[in-house]
């Protein structure tokens, strides 16, 4: 994949996607690795290490709980702390532990009423302080636009 990126003049490959494949109606489910958080995390780490060993920056996405099609860009995911950590955050945590992706993409949706893309809890407390990751956070593509109109 890194060689293909080089061939197309790409420096940052926005992959792998490690959201959960919760059901067949998720239109972007095909991008994700699996419905298993541990398998997703381990496979993502292998992909990241492969991509970055050839000089291309990888990006794990979409952080986090961006797993369903209905209102993909704005849904408020109401979720318990245990399900959040054991299922939806797990692949990101494993990928960061077993590899060091250069970037992470924050998602469009909210989690428990708060936009992840402007959440201090997710983008600072969790990934910086708790997980100790120091890569770059990038928003999903239209987040600045949505913020402008909202």
């Amino acid at each position: 994949m890194a060689k293909e990126a080089v061939a197309k003049g790409v420096h940052v490959l926005l992959a792998p996607t490690i959201n959960m494949q919760r059901g067949p109606l998720g239109g972007r489910g095909f991008e994700s690795i699996s419905e298993d958080p541990v398998l997703s995390g381990l496979a993502a780490a292998a992909l990241i290490n492969g991509i970055q060993s050839d000089g291309i920056v990888a990006c794990i996405k979409h952080f986090v709980c961006n797993d369903q099609e209905h209102e993909r860009n704005r849904v408020d995911v109401r979720i318990t702390e245990r399900a959040l950590r054991e299922i939806y955050l797990m692949p990101f945590m494993i990928a960061m532990k077993k590899a060091n992706p250069g970037t992470l993409m924050s998602s469009y949706n909210k989690v428990n009423g708060e936009h992840v893309s402007e959440s201090k809890r997710f983008l600072h407390t969790l990934i910086r302080e708790e997980w100790g990751w120091d890569g770059a956070v990038i928003s999903d593509w239209f987040v600045p636009l949505f913020d402008y109109f909202s």
């Binding site: 790409v10 940052v12 996607t17 239109g27 993909r72 600045p144």
Partner: protein
């Protein structure tokens, strides 16, 4: 980032074109191109792009919007 002016930081944050960041030539920072995969590298266009190892089919790509 502290060496950059506010305007430069803002430009870097919002990008230059749809798939590239803005370069900062005075600081030796080139523009970066970013691309979705997901299975292979899509490149700069959604449709009829250069063939990749594993390409996205248009019905699947529509979900990007």
């Amino acid at each position: 980032m502290s060496i950059f002016l506010l305007e430069q930081r803002t430009n870097f944050a919002i990008g230059d074109s749809f798939w590239t960041t803005k370069s900062l030539p005075h600081h030796g920072v080139p523009a970066l191109r970013l691309s979705d995969g997901p299975n292979g590298v899509r490149g700069g266009t959604f449709f009829a792009g250069t063939k990749g190892a594993v390409g996205s089919i248009p019905p699947a790509v529509l979900n990007y919007f």
